[in-house]
C-alpha cells in the first residue's frame, strides 16, 4: 500500500518545526512503527536525516511510543498504542498526519520525540509506597476484596505514555496523576501515606504547568489502556479530604 505521510520535523526544543511530506510503500501487516522504520530506511538511503520517534517494547506495555496520528494520540484505534496499531486500518493512498504530543510540559526534543520527564517528577513526588526491604512479603498476608483489587489494578495499568495530556484540549495531566494516586491509595499498603501523596502529586502536577481538568473526557477516549475518569473524581474527593480534613499540607 502506498501512503502519503505529513510528518512533523523539528530540530530541537528551541527551534520551530514544520511538516514534511513523504511517500512510503508499506504493507498492511506492518505496525505503524514498522512503517516508520521503512520510511527511515528510505531516508537513510537517500542520505537524509531519518525521522526521530520513540519506541521500546513494541508490545503495547512500556508507554514509550507516542505521536499523534490524524489528530488521535496513538492513532484512531481505541485502546491501542502506536506500536500495536497496524497499517490495515489505513487505506491505500491515504494521507496520514503525524505530529508529536503537544504540551508545554512535554517539550519537543526532536521531531516526534518529546521530553516526558514532568511525569517522572510527579511520580517522584509521591507515586510510591515506603516499605522496609528484607524478606519477600507473603502475598496473601493482607486480605483485599476482589472488586477493590481489580479497580486498583485497572488504575495501575496506566503505562504513563502521556496520551491523556496529548488528547486533552487543556493539556491536563489529571488522568495520569489520578491513575497513579488511585492505584496506590486504594490499597492498604498505599493508604498509610494517602493524604500526603495526593497533596504532593497534585501540587507537582500544577508546578509542571499542565492545564486544569474540565472533564472533557477526551483522555479516557484516547487512553491506550482505557483508564477511567472515575479516577479523576476519586482524586478530587481525596484532594478535598486531604486539604480540608487532614492536618497535612503539600511538602513542597
Amino acid at each position: 500500500m502506498k501512503l502519503n505521510l505529513k510528518v512533523w520535523r523539528q530540530k530541537g526544543a528551541a527551534t520551530g518545526g514544520k511538516f514534511e511530506t513523504y511517500t512510503v510503500e508499506a504493507n498492511e501487516h506492518m505496525s505503524f512503527l514498522e512503517m516508520l522504520d521503512v520510511l527511515n530506511e528510505q531516508l537513510i538511503a537517500e542520505q537524509k536525516e531519518p525521522v526521530s520517534f520513540e519506541h521500546d517494547c513494541r508490545e503495547g506495555i512500556c508507554g514509550t511510543c507516542s505521536m499523534v496520528i490524524n489528530g488521535h494520540p496513538h492513532g484512531p484505534m481505541k485502546g491501542t498504542t502506536t506500536c500495536q496499531l497496524h497499517m490495515r486500518h489505513f487505506n491505500d493512498g491515504e494521507t496520514i498526519t503525524i505530529e508529536p504530543f503537544r504540551s508545554n510540559s512535554f517539550p519537543v526534543i526532536k521531531d516526534l520525540v518529546v521530553d516526558r520527564s514532568s511525569f517522572d517528577r510527579i511520580i517522584q513526588s509521591g507515586g510510591y509506597i515506603s516499605v522496609n526491604t528484607g524478606q519477600a512479603q507473603d502475598g496473601n498476608a493482607i486480605p483485599i476484596e476482589k472488586d477493590l483489587a481489580s479497580e486498583a489494578f485497572d488504575a495501575a495499568t496506566c503505562i504513563g505514555c502521556g496520551a491523556c495530556v496529548a488528547a486533552c484540549p487543556n493539556a491536563s495531566a489529571m488522568l495520569f496523576t489520578s491513575a497513579k494516586i488511585s492505584h496506590l491509595n486504594m490499597m492498604p499498603q498505599g493508604e498509610v501515606e494517602a493524604s500526603q501523596r495526593v497533596l504532593n502529586m497534585v501540587n507537582q502536577m500544577d508546578v509542571e504547568g499542565f492545564g486544569a481538568c474540565s472533564n472533557v473526557t477526551a483522555c479516557e477516549a484516547e487512553c491506550p489502556k482505557e483508564i477511567s475518569v472515575k479516577n479523576i473524581a476519586r482524586v478530587n474527593r481525596e484532594y478535598f479530604a486531604a486539604s480540608l480534613a487532614s492536618e497535612k499540607t503539600s511538602s513542597k
Partner: protein
C-alpha cells in the same frame, strides 16, 4: 502560602469554585424561570409585576441576589482565567484536531469558555434592558387592587423589548448557548465534586441532559410567545 489559599488556587481548587458557583447558578435559573413563567399568564402583567416588587424589596431575597451577582462574576472571571491558563499549557497547536469523548457532548465540553462568554454578553444586554431600567426608575408605576402598594411596571418593558426582532433572536441564540453550556456543565460539576458513582452518575447525567434542554427552552419560549403569539 497559606494552606487554604493554596487549596483554592490549585488546579482542583479552581475547578471546585467553578463547580459550586455553577451549581448555585443552576438553582438560580430554576427560581428565575419560575418567576418568568408568570409572563405567560394573561393578566396584563399583574402577577409578574407584584412578583418583581417582592423580589426587589424582600430583604432575604435581596441578600441572596447580591450573592448571585457575586457568584456570576466569580464564575465568569474564574472561567476566563482557567480558559487562558489552559490554553497557555499548549502553545503549539495541532494541525489536525479531533475530540473524541466518552461521557459528554464534545462540542460543549471544548467550547465552554466561548459559550460562557456568549452567556456573559447576553447577561450584560439582559440586565441593561430590565434590571438597570428598573433600578434606575425608568419604568412607569402601576396599582393593582390585589396589592396595597404601587409597583413598577416591568411587564411593560418586557412587552416593549420582546417586540424588537433582534432582541428576540439574540435571546433565543443565547438560550441555545446556555443549553450547550449546561449540557456539559451540569454533569461536569458533579464529577469535579468527586461524585462519580455507579449508582448515581447515570441519574445525574440524565438529569443534566433534561435540565440543559428544558430550562433554556422554557426561557426561550417567553420572547417567542411575545413575538409570535401575543
Amino acid at each position: 502560602m497559606n494552606w487554604f489559599v493554596r487549596f483554592l488556587t490549585s488546579s482542583i481548587g479552581k475547578k471546585l469554585i467553578m463547580s459550586l458557583t455553577g451549581l448555585f447558578l443552576c438553582l438560580f435559573l430554576v427560581v428565575h424561570l419560575a418567576g418568568n413563567l408568570q409572563l405567560l399568564l394573561d393578566d396584563g402583567g399583574e402577577a409578574f409585576n407584584i412578583y418583581a416588587y417582592m423580589m426587589t424589596h424582600n430583604p432575604l431575597i435581596k441578600a441572596v441576589s447580591y450573592g448571585t451577582y457575586f457568584f456570576i462574576i466569580l464564575h465568569a472571571i474564574q472561567g476566563i482565567i482557567l480558559a487562558i491558563q489552559n490554553r497557555k499549557a499548549r502553545s503549539s497547536r495541532y494541525a489536525v484536531t479531533v475530540t473524541r469523548t466518552t461521557g459528554t457532548n464534545s462540542f460543549a465540553a471544548r467550547q465552554m469558555a466561548l459559550l460562557g462568554s456568549l452567556i456573559l454578553v447576553f447577561l450584560g444586554i439582559h440586565m441593561g434592558d430590565f434590571w438597570w431600567k428598573m433600578k434606575s426608575g425608568q419604568t412607569s408605576m402601576v396599582k393593582y387592587d390585589s396589592f396595597e402598594l404601587e409597583v413598577q411596571n416591568l411587564y411593560e418593558k418586557v412587552e416593549a423589548s420582546f417586540a424588537v426582532e433582534w432582541i428576540v433572536i439574540f435571546y433565543v441564540i443565547a438560550m441555545i448557548g446556555l443549553s450547550f453550556h449546561l449540557l456539559h456543565g451540569f454533569q461536569s460539576a458533579f464529577q469535579t465534586l468527586g461524585l462519580n458513582h455507579k449508582k448515581y452518575t447515570p441519574f445525574i447525567k440524565a438529569l443534566g441532559k433534561g435540565f440543559a434542554i428544558i430550562i433554556p427552552a422554557l426561557f426561550a419560549l417567553i420572547p417567542l410567545y411575545y413575538m409570535f403569539v401575543k
